[in-house]
Point group: C2
Chain length 500, copies 2
């Protein structure tokens, strides 16, 4: 019997298809007790939260609007999410307690939330919400980009094989512009035609803006949402569905005229952030040479509300599932889908800079260590890609730790929110920051978790500290310097000028 192991270490036996189908029978008789059925395809960081929020939707009388079925694959890498939800637990650790409460409420009290591996679920759906991942599988640093379309295409095929004539398919996945029209619609149409369905397909794109963190649920329910339909009927149906679980009183829906527009909007949002981060990194390198504290400079410029108040601060790097790759989908689309000779030059340069960014922190550590890190034990504080979250996807700490290993250093990591690091299972993790510190030659502050603001520099071994996230103030840097430690900070040109 195959098992699926969750990030928290829990183990879940993967059912055979027969077993899954037997369990699925419960869903078949349970669904009609609710006005409509929604299937959420893909139970990752987005899908699990979306399923929970939709299960929490109520009519004016407080009755659940939907029976919600989450689907994911019967594979070791995915099945645990199905098992967790059916056990009434959030598959994702989150500082937002509401997420867990919604899932518990849906699976137990209300009984309108279930998960399954059976694609037969799509046959029950009035609405299917697609929250699959769509990965960039290769990038040569320029316009040579490969996309992992096969999973996406297979999943849409499964929908098409079961979908009812009137089912609305809402794609939330971040896709290359043109994908709804040129990839999703043809697959769904082909499968529907094969089953004799002639009615026009209802297909919409409504990208999510889910933010892991303390406002996880609100980032779905109480935030702006744009959407578009493949045609007017689809758009109308999607608008009606979205307003049933989004607070559109405070955040009115924004309808865009076609799916390419909303597909593009999503990519531009994330490219914009990625570019602004990369741009600051260029000036960070300059500030360090000029003896300038770039944090102060950026702070002073941000008073210009509406034009400059989103200028980013210097930092360690860019991680997460979106900013590190989304723009590449647009560049891929230009060539592969539209045959357009358009190069998103700044956009691509920004991703290149952001991928190299953690190496600047490495360079600072190397300099403080006197030019060699061989044999040095370096504690990297922070593994997640964002303060106070547990998400380690594409964390920039990966890049630093790999480079430390190449340089012959012994990298150990700490993170108050991360117990195991699936992307780098071989790297030593310490549970106690203090003990880790006492056994290290160097410290890199890579994530500005609140816990790190109270670090006590005890022990005798520590020789250098690199602050990549403005965790230490000038007084603490001075204090370390006076005790014989070498100190450097990303964007802290004034420390360098002071000879720390």
């Amino acid at each position: 019997m195959k098992e699926s192991v969750a990030p928290d270490g829990s183990r879940h036996a993967i059912p055979t298809h027969g077993e899954a189908l037997a369990q699925f029978e419960e869903l078949r008789w349970r669904a009609p007790a609710f006005p409509k059925t929604v299937v959420v395809q893909g139970l990752g960081f987005v899908g699990a939260a979306v399923a929970a929020v939709i299960a929490g939707a109520r009519d004016a009388a407080g009755r659940p609007l939907y029976f919600v079925i989450g689907t994911d694959l019967a594979t070791p890498g995915s099945y645990w999410k199905v098992a967790k939800i059916n056990a009434g637990e959030a598959p994702i650790g989150s500082p937002d307690a509401e997420l867990g409460a919604l899932i518990e409420d849906g699976t137990r009290a209300t009984g309108n939330l279930r998960a399954t591996t059976c694609e037969e679920a799509y046959g029950l759906a009035d609405v299917i919400v697609v929250d699959l991942p769509l990965d960039v599988t290769g990038w040569d640093g320029g316009t040579g980009i490969e996309i992992g379309l096969a999973t996406f295409e297979a999943a849409l095929g499964a929908i098409g094989r079961h979908i009812r004539p009137d089912t609305l398919v809402v794609i939330e996945t971040t896709v290359p512009p043109g994908a709804c029209e040129k990839i999703a619609a043809p697959i769904l149409e082909r499968e529907r035609r094969a089953r004799g369905i002639a009615k026009p397909l209802l297909l919409a794109h409504a990208y999510e803006r889910v933010m892991p963190g303390p406002r996880y649920v609100d980032s779905i329910r109480r935030f702006w949402r744009s959407y578009s339909g493949a045609d007017a009927r689809s758009a109308a149906a999607a608008g009606e569905f979205l307003q049933s679980f989004i607070d559109t009183g405070s955040f009115p829906l924004w309808e865009l005229p076609n799916t390419a527009s909303s597909e593009m909007a999503k990519l531009m949002e994330n490219s914009y952030r990625a570019v602004n981060i990369a741009w600051v990194h260029e000036w960070t390198l300059l500030a360090e040479r000029l003896g300038v504290n770039l944090f102060e400079v950026v702070e002073s410029v941000r008073v210009r509300k509406g034009t400059h108040d989103n200028m980013r601060y210097p930092g360690f790097g860019v991680g997460g599932y979106c900013l590190t790759k989304d723009s590449l989908l647009a560049q891929w689309s230009a060539g592969a889908m539209f045959g357009a000779d358009v190069t998103l030059g700044i956009t691509l340069e920004a991703l290149r800079i952001n991928r190299r960014m953690p190496l600047h922190t490495f360079d600072l550590a190397l300099e403080l260590a006197g030019g060699s890190l061989a044999g040095k034990r370096v504690l990297v504080a922070g593994v997640s890609y964002l303060a106070e979250v547990a998400d380690t996807r594409s964390s920039p700490t990966e890049i630093l730790v790999d480079e430390l290993a190449r340089a012959g250093a012994e990298a150990v990591v700490h993170d108050p929110h991360v117990r195991c690091w699936p992307e780098r299972p071989g790297v030593e993790m310490v549970e106690s920051l203090q003990q880790g510190l006492e056994a290290a030659d160097g410290l890199v502050l890579a994530v500005p978790h609140r816990a790190y603001q109270r670090i006590e520099f005890t022990g005798e071994r520590l020789k250098f500290v690199v602050d990549a996230q403005n965790v230490l103030d000038d007084d603490r840097a001075q204090w370390l310097h006076e005790r014989g430690m070498r100190v450097a900070g990303v964007g802290k040109g004034h420390w360098r000028k002071s000879g720390y």
Copy 2:
């Protein structure tokens, strides 16, 4: 006798040095009637307005705080500014009536505003405000940059030859980071030492954020201001001076710790805008290929206040004195002053894209004209670099008109705010948009002046219209299309898709 001709065509005899000195005597006896004397060096778009605002500063009892002397050169290119101010007129045309009122009031009613070409004026000053231009004189498109330092250095030398021991020098000019410390201070110190002045120099950097347009005066008096001093005494003196004419109740001053920080802040502000414009241009080219109306997409994304609400719209190009060159000062500084191997890659790429940007509008015109513009008469509507202003410095229309000429087209231009175009005196200007339109084969809407929103497409000759600034809505584009004209718009992929 040499003359200086103003942009409005008025002619002014340039006085000899003897004549100027004789006129200067009036300033020498007039100054002591006021508590302090301020000299503003350089009477261009910034200096003239700054002088006017400082002359308008009053104490609690409503009495003028300063006698203000503006200085500029006794050259054909500059003297007219001196003459204009002494005649009580604003040297710059501006939609902000307050500018003219301040200058008239200062020169006539209060008598505390004068201009001169005599460097002896610096000897009267308690405060000298430096508003010189500092130009990029050469750029190879990469890190090869030349700066016209000679004028700047000569002007500072003139200050140093006359300055009193306690005079505060406030540099407002946008300079390469490090310039105050490594260029300005050494020149001033050298001249002061030669005159036996041992007292420490008072030197500050307080960059301006002047915006030509209807809020010209407010962009000095009622807006954020950052500053820094070469030392603590300089910073304190600069802060006291700035608060005497800036509304610091609403816009508290921001002191930065050293001059390199504020020099850098200014460059970053303008680089940030330039990069955000260039980035949108990349996506504009993509949107046009994908059939997407990028204006709608950007509009939808800008609901995200604080992170995305300053995303820029597609457009024609970037002009003006600042955004087109400021970032280059930083790149120059990195190499020439700090020997730093830092390349501001995104920053430079943005300037390259922005310089090419008007050529995209040219390409659209070429396409609509069927591949050749030879012999075609093309009316370009808009010469200034910004809507509703008269400023033509580095206008992107220059680039378009040059390219039209290269393609054998006959370019004529129109602008409701510009009577003569000093940068392209040979290009035909039409006063009547309507008459220009009736005699043209094609129209390019290059600047979104309000007047262009009411264009009537009369006459028979016009065959194509390129809207580079979202001036036409979809209905008007459709109307033109139905009358047999070809229509294209920057960022209007949906028009292309509709076969306009």
